[in-house]
């Protein structure tokens, strides 16, 4: 399988302007050197706590922002320097499903107009053909065809997210960024939407970048998982490897916080790692490793040198000095 999406050293810095002349005095490094591949037909889960740059990363990959640096290649085409007008043709290959289904639908447009907008922009279908296509899309995501003339506020959250998914599917994209598509939904509806996404992936061969902070849901849907902390990917591994044997202390801490659904086992969970302190400001990240201020296994070297993101075990990447033989004598054993 080939990589559909190749991201190398992606950086997205937002300038901070201050002072009388609004000169740039610093930058919020929302995404700071992120690299990953997404293979065709797979789902890459992107997890991390609030504010770590997950959503910005997803949007930057689609070039909804003008990125600060790095390269993005989607479907064999480098898009990091394309102008927004050149990107227009590429938009048919890559689409996005948004977090808040209420906010991502224009309240003044009917469902038919919302789903039909991509068709209107990118195809020359006649009005009748377009309406027909919209109905097919509504069938695909399990919406009643009769609702085509209704407005978003007349739907439930889950139905609205289906409208958003239908819009994303309208142009037969290969790659969809799902930006926390289930975070704003009821738990019972979350399962429906995730199942719909999986079903569509099987049927249409879609590739997902699935952004979420719900570790259990990512475990369910993702093939590989990337963990982000303060604008950087700290660990990237196949799902089972990551959940069974996390290599980065941050991933360990994150996984130890997942609640145990079985009440009988709940109390017996071993090694709950509670991190101290707050996430540092992305405008002023610490020297060395970004995680050194809170890491339970911090070493001297962590405060000086930023660990390299490297392949520690086959297919299992991590950015941590613990797995570097040069700094840690036990490196071989932990890996």
């Amino acid at each position: 399988m080939t990589a559909l999406v190749k991201v190398r050293d992606l950086r997205m810095h937002f300038p901070i302007n201050s002072g009388l002349l609004r000169r740039q005095t610093g930058a919020v490094k929302a995404v700071d050197g992120v690299s990953f591949d997404i293979l065709e037909g797979e789902t890459l889960g992107l997890v991390g706590e609030s504010g770590c740059g997950k959503s910005t990363c997803g949007r930057a990959v689609l070039r909804l922002y003008d990125i600060t640096g790095g390269t993005i290649e989607i479907d064999g085409r480098a898009i990091e320097h394309l102008s927004q007008s050149d990107l227009r043709q590429m938009r048919t290959t890559m689409q996005m499903v948004f977090q808040d289904p209420q906010a991502s639908l224009n309240p003044r447009m009917t469902v038919g107009a919302i789903i039909g907008e991509p068709l209107l922009e990118h195809t020359n279908l006649s009005r009748a053909e377009r309406e027909e296509q919209v109905q097919v899309l509504m069938d695909q995501v399990g919406l009643n065809r009769a609702f085509v003339n209704r407005y978003p506020h007349e739907f439930s959250g889950g139905q609205r997210q289906r409208i958003g998914i239908a819009r994303a599917l309208a142009l037969n994209p290969k790659f969809i960024v799902c930006d926390e598509p289930i975070a704003a939904l009821d738990v019972s509806i979350q399962a429906q939407v995730v199942n719909l996404l999986e079903e569509l992936q099987d049927r249409l061969g879609l590739t997902y970048l699935f952004i979420s902070h719900d570790l259990s849901m990512v475990r369910h849907i993702a093939d590989r998982v990337a963990v982000m902390y303060l604008g950087k990917v700290v660990e990237l591994a196949p799902r089972d490897a990551l959940y069974d044997a996390p290599l980065h202390p941050y991933t360990e801490a994150l996984l130890s916080a997942v609640p145990e659904p079985d009440p009988a086992l709940a109390g017996q969970k071993k090694g709950r790692i509670v991190l101290q302190g707050d996430v540092p400001s992305p405008a002023n990240p610490p020297e060395g490793c970004n995680f050194c201020t809170r890491c339970p296994r911090v070493m001297d070297v962590c405060r000086r040198i930023d660990p390299e993101f490297r392949e520690v075990a086959p297919g299992h990447w991590a950015a941590c000095h613990l797995h570097d033989a040069e700094y840690n004598a036990n490196a071989g054993q932990t890996a």
Binding site: L87, S104, L105, P107, A146
Partner: protein, 325 residues
């Protein structure tokens, strides 16, 4: 404000709305929405807003009287009759006569044409300018600074001296080119239009700035919709409310500004009646003949109020979230 929330409203009126929305369901077991045009829904909602309907009827009546009036009431508004001056209301002069014996009703009709035309056109012009500047400044970051400083500049300009200069500079060439009445009409409309768009621009810019960050605009960008169509399809329909409010207030301001200009001798010629001029002419006689100021004042207030209600109803009718409630 809206009659629908008035507790005195008979229940039957609401039942009619409920029955109408029942018809939406189609009666069948499948909850199917109508395929009919959205504009029928807008009309249905507008009709259910009683204030808006009353406003629309009053406004249309005024427009009708002003348009058809001269053919029915064929009294020359400029004919003086010193013997019948300052006459009270009577059958021969429904609103009485002024100090020169001119029929006030005929002058109101004549003045209404000018005032309404000036008010509407100036409002449209200032609305267009304000919306254009506001949307450009709000949506395109690069233009924001320049356009907003321009807006500040216009806000800081003392309006009357500016109008005086404009009138002095352009009155002659315009009257030469378009004739005296048309020339002054164009002058006054553009003078009012380009000195009253700033409030609209500021409000619109603020709303666009907020709207631009909403996810559905981002979704449109992710779809590849070019900026001009994002503005027309996603931004403009969502800033209808502030634009409507500006529009209704704009008409009143335009009518009043026109009267101020005429009062200063910079607008239409003194014998040329407009509502604002009639009002000003009536002010010195307020104690003796209050009717002279009352009728033009009443006409201006009625127009403004009715347009306000129409705007209110339109805003509700155009919002699908309120429609059908």
């Amino acid at each position: 404000m809206t009659d629908a929330r008035d507790p005195d409203t008979p229940v039957g009126a609401d039942m009619a709305t409920v029955a109408a929305s029942g018809a939406v369901a189609g009666g069948g077991p499948v909850l199917r929405t109508r395929a009919r045009s959205q504009w029928w829904d807008v009309w249905d909602q507008f009709r259910s807003h009683k204030g808006a309907m009353a406003g629309a009827i009053i406004f249309l009546l005024i427009v009708l009287v002003v348009l058809i009036g001269p053919y029915v009431w064929d009294v020359d508004p400029t004919k003086t009759n010193i013997r019948a001056r300052n006459a009270p209301m009577s059958l021969t002069a429904p609103f009485g006569t002024d100090q020169l014996g001119r029929d006030i009703f005929a002058r109101m009709i004549e003045g209404g044409r000018v005032s309404l035309a000036v008010g509407m056109t100036a409002m449209l012009l200032s609305l267009f300018l304000g919306t254009l500047v506001g949307v450009l400044a709000g949506y395109f970051r690069r233009l924001d600074g320049v356009l907003m400083r321009l807006t500040d500049l216009f806000l800081a300009l003392p309006l009357l001296p500016l109008l005086l200069v404009m009138v002095l500079l352009f009155r002659e060439p315009l009257t030469a080119a378009f004739g005296i009445e048309m020339g002054i009409f164009i002058l006054i409309v553009s003078a009012i239009g380009i000195t009253s768009w700033m409030q609209t621009a500021r409000i619109v810019r603020g709303d666009v700035l907020a709207l631009k960050e909403r996810e559905f605009v981002l979704a449109a960008r992710a779809t590849g919709t070019p900026p001009r169509r994002i503005v027309t399809r996603h931004i403009l329909p969502n800033i209808m409310s502030p634009i409507m409010v500006s529009a209704t207030l704009g008409i009143a301001t335009a009518i009043i500004t026109e009267s101020a200009l005429s009062f200063l001798g910079l607008g239409f010629p003194p014998d040329f009646p407009t509502w604002g001029r009639l009002l000003n002419d009536g002010v010195p006689y307020l104690e003796l003949y209050p009717g002279r100021a009352f009728w033009p004042g009443m006409a201006i207030s009625l127009v403004v109020l009715s347009i306000n209600y129409v705007g209110d109803g339109l805003r509700d009718a155009l919002d699908p979230r309120i429609r059908g409630r």
